[in-house]
C-alpha cells in the first residue's frame, strides 16, 4: 500500500497529521515540505498530533520523516504529541534523541584553496625531514650498539630475513637480470653491427651490468619485494600495538626490528648483485652467440678484458648502499605508519617510492664521485 499523508484540524490550535499505508524506505515516502507548508498555511498551529490507525508497515522511512517533522516543530516552538504513534516508533524516537548531537563534533568541510593546499604539502614535506633524520640517527646509534655487541635482537630473526631477502629472491633476480642482459646486447648489437664491431657487445654488457645495472635492477626488485614487505609488516605491528609492547618492555624497536632487517639486506644485496652480474652477462652471451656469431671464448675474453676490478668494486659498493637504503625506507615508513588498514597501504606505497627514488639518487651521486676520483 502506498504511504499517504493527509491533514486534519480537530480544533483551531492543533494540526493532526494522518499517516496511512506502508511507510517503508522502498516506498516513495512523502516529502516533509508538505507538512511544513501545511503548518505555515492557515491559522497558527500550537500543537502537532498524529493519527496512525491506518498505518501499515513502517521502518526507517517513517522514522526519518518524523525526525524531520519534529525537528521543524521544535525550531518553530510547536509542541508535538507523540502518544498516538506506534510504541516502537516512540521508543526509537526517544532513543534517537537520547544522546544530543555533540556540539562541535560535526566537522567543517570547507574547500581549501589550491595555493593553500600546495603550501600545506610543502610544509608537510619540510616537517617530515626531522623525522627522517631522527630515524636515520636512531638506526646509526643502534648500529654502533651492534658493533659493541650490546644490540638486542633475535638471531633467528636475522637468519629468517636473510633467507627471505636472499635465497628466496634468486628466481626473480635471475629472470630480470638475464632479460636486462639480453635487451642491452640486442640494442647494442643493432648499432655495433653497422661498424662491424659486434665483439664490443661483450664490453657493453659486461661494463654496464657489473658497474651499475646489476646493482640498480636488484635494488629496484628488492625495493618492490622486500622493502614493501618490511613496511607492511612493521606497519601492521604498529596497528596491532606490537611496537608499543616492545617499547614498554624497554626494548628498542629500532634495534629489535630494524637492525636485523637492515643487516640482512646489507649482507645479501652485494651477493644478489654479484649473481645478477653473472646472469646479465649470460643474457648478453646468448645474444652474442645466437645473433652475432661470436663464439664463447671470444665473448668471455672480451668481457674479462673490458671489465676492470674497479667496476666490480663500484658495483658491489653500490649494491651494499642500495641494500641499506631499501631497508631504511621500508622500515621507516613501517614505523611511521598510522593505526589503520589504509595507513598500512600508504606506508607500503611510500616505502617503495622512497626506496626507488633513493636508489636512483644514490646512483647519480656515486657516479659523480667515481668520476671525480677517476675510478
Amino acid at each position: 500500500m502506498k504511504p499517504e499523508l493527509s491533514f486534519d484540524r480537530p480544533d483551531d490550535k492543533t494540526l493532526q497529521i494522518r499517516l496511512a499505508g506502508d511507510w517503508i524506505l522502498r516506498a516513495d515516502v512523502p516529502a516533509v515540505g508538505e507538512v511544513t507548508e501545511e503548518i505555515g498555511a492557515g491559522r497558527p498551529v500550537e500543537q502537532v498530533a498524529f493519527h496512525t490507525s491506518d498505518l501499515g508497515r513502517w521502518d526507517a522511512g517513517l522514522l526519518t520523516f518524523l525526525v524531520k517533522v519534529i525537528d521543524h516543530c521544535v525550531r518553530a516552538g510547536i509542541h508535538t504529541d507523540k502518544s498516538e504513534l506506534p510504541r516502537g516508533v516512540q521508543r526509537l524516537l526517544a532513543l534517537a534523541s537520547a544522546v544530543p548531537e555533540k556540539k562541535g563534533a560535526r566537522k567543517e568541510s570547507a574547500r581549501i584553496p589550491f595555493l593553500e593546499r600546495v603550501g600545506d604539502s610543502a610544509v608537510r614535506v619540510w616537517r617530515s625531514v626531522p623525522g627522517m633524520t631522527a630515524f636515520v640517527g636512531e638506526v646509526f646509534v643502534a648500529f654502533l650498539r651492534l658493533l659493541t655487541g650490546k644490540a638486542r635482537f633475535r638471531r633467528s630473526d636475522l637468519f629468517l630475513t636473510i633467507q627471505q631477502c636472499g635465497a628466496q629472491a634468486l628466481p626473480i633476480v635471475s629472470l630480470i637480470s638475464i632479460l636486462v642482459g639480453l635487451i642491452l646486447a640486442f640494442i647494442g648489437a643493432i648499432q655495433l653491427r653497422i661498424f662491424g664491431a659486434q665483439i664490443y657487445v661483450a664490453s657493453l654488457v659486461g661494463i654496464a651490468m657489473v658497474r651499475a645495472l646489476a646493482a640498480v635492477m636488484t635494488g629496484v626488485i628488492m625495493s618492490g619485494r622486500t622493502g614493501a614487505s618490511f613496511a607492511a609488516q612493521l606497519g601492521t605491528m604498529q596497528v596491532n600495538e606490537e611496537i608499543d609492547a616492545l617499547k614498554t618492555l624497554g626494548v628498542s624497536p629500532v634495534e629489535f626490528l630494524v637492525l636485523p632487517r637492515m643487516l640482512a639486506l646489507f649482507l645479501m644485496m652485494p651477493l644478489l648483485s654479484l649473481y645478477a652480474d653473472l646472469m646479465g652477462i649470460l643474457g648478453g652471451l646468448a645474444i652474442g652467440i645466437t645473433m652475432l656469431d661470436l663464439n664463447f671464448m671470444e665473448y668471455y675474453n672480451k668481457t674479462r678484458e673490458a671489465v676492470s676490478i674497479n667496476d666490480f668494486w663500484v658495483g658491489l659498493f653500490s649494491a651494499a648502499v642500495f641494500g641499506v637504503l631499501v631497508a631504511l625506507s621500508g622500515c621507516m615508513r613501517g614505523m611511521q605508519c598510522g593505526r589503520s588498514a589504509s595507513a598500512v597501504g600508504e606506508a607500503t606505497t611510500s616505502a617503495v617510492v622512497t626506496g626507488i627514488v633513493s636508489i636512483v639518487v644514490a646512483t647519480a651521486v656515486i657516479t659523480v664521485i667515481c668520476n671525480v676520483l677517476n675510478i
Binding site: L25, R26, D59, A60, L63, T64, V67, K68, R87, G88, V89, R91, L92, L95, A96, S97, A98, V99, P100, E101, K102, A105, R106, K107, S109, G338, R339, S340, A341, S342, A343
Partner: protein
C-alpha cells in the same frame, strides 16, 4: 508474549578445521524476538559457531535453517538473500578504516536499496543518532574510542533493518557502564525493531540481564551441555561445569579457600 515461532533452527551441526573438531552435534532453536546467548569458556568454539551461522564458514555436517530454509544447502543466490536479513556486529567493530562513519553505514544501503543519496544520508543520520553518535558522520574509525567504534558498528549492522542481529562479544573491552548501556540498546532495538538477537558472550552480567534463551558449549566434551533460559540454568542446572561458569566459579573458589558457600 506472542506464541514462540522458530526463527533459526540448528540441527546436528558439526564444525571442524580439517580433522580437528571444534564442536559436534549442536541442536537448538532460536525463536523470533529471542535474545539468544551462545556461551561457554574461552576457546570452546563460540565464535566458530557464529561464523557457521552467519555464513562465513561452512560446517562439516548438519544444518542451519532460517525460517525452514537450510542455509548451507541453498544456492548462492538464495544464501545472499538470507544474508541480507542479517546484521553482524564484530568483536572490535570491523569498521572499514578508509571510510567515514557515514560511508560505513551508507555502504549496505547503497548496495542493497535504490534510495537516492539524500535519503541515504537521512537514514545514516538516523541510525547514528539511534546509537548515540549524532554528529559523528564525518569521523574516521581511527578517531573514535573502542566503545564508540562498537556503537558505530551497531549502526552499520542495523542499517538495513535486519531481522536477525548477531553480536560477537559485544561488551568485550567496554567499561561496565558502557557495557550496560550497550545491553540496553540491544534490548531497545530488539523491542522496537522486533529483531531476533544472537549474542556470543561470556559476560555474566549481560547474560542474565538480557538473555532469555541460551546454549552452553563445552570445550572438553566438544558439544553443548546445556540450553535454555540462563536464569533457569543457574538456579536448576545440575551440571557442575554450567553452575561453575554461571556463578563465576564460586564453588571452585570456595573449595580452594576452604570456606562454605
Amino acid at each position: 508474549m506472542v506464541k514462540a515461532e522458530p526463527h533459526i533452527v540448528v540441527q546436528e551441526l558439526t564444525m571442524a578445521y580439517g580433522d580437528f573438531v571444534i564442536q559436534r552435534d549442536l541442536t537448538f532453536t532460536v525463536n523470533r524476538s529471542d535474545i539468544f546467548i551462545v556461551m561457554g569458556g574461552s576457546g570452546c568454539g563460540k565464535s566458530t559457531l557464529l561464523r557457521a551461522m552467519v555464513g562465513l564458514q561452512e560446517p562439516v555436517k548438519g544444518k542451519v535453517m532460517y525460517q525452514g530454509v537450510s542455509f548451507w544447502d541453498a544456492e548462492q543466490k538464495e544464501r545472499e538473500g538470507i544474508m541480507q536479513n542479517f546484521g553482524v556486529l564484530y568483536q572490535s567493530g570491523a569498521l572499514w578504516s578508509s571510510m567515514t562513519l557515514a560511508e560505513n553505514v551508507a555502504l549496505p544501503l547503497r548496495e542493497y536499496t535504490d534510495l537516492s543519496p539524500d535519503r541515504i544520508n537521512e537514514v545514516v543520520s538516523l541510525k547514528l543518532s539511534l546509537v548515540g553518535l549524532a554528529g559523528f558522520e564525518e569521523y574516521y574509525p581511527s578517531e573514535l574510542s573502542g566503545g564508540m567504534k562498537k556503537r558505530a558498528g551497531l549502526a552499520r549492522a542495523i542499517a538495513l533493518d535486519p531481522e536477525i542481529l548477531f553480536f560477537d562479544e559485544p561488551s568485550a573491552g567496554l567499561d561496565p557502564v558502557s557495557a550496560r548501556l550497550l545491553d540496553n540498546l540491544i534490548l531497545e532495538l530488539r523491542d522496537s525493531l522486533g529483531a531476533t538477537v544472537v549474542i556470543v558472550t561470556h559476560e555474566l552480567a549481560s547474560i542474565f540481564a538480557i538473555g532469555n534463551n541460551s546454549v552452553f558449549l563445552d570445550a572438553g566434551t566438544k558439544t553443548m551441555i546445556a540450553s535454555g533460559d540462563p536464569k533457569e540454568l543457574v538456579a536448576h542446572s545440575s551440571d557442575p561445569r554450567v553452575r561453575s561458569f554461571l556463578t563465576r566459579g564460586a564453588e571452585v573458589v570456595a573449595a580452594a579457600w576452604g570456606i562454605a558457600l
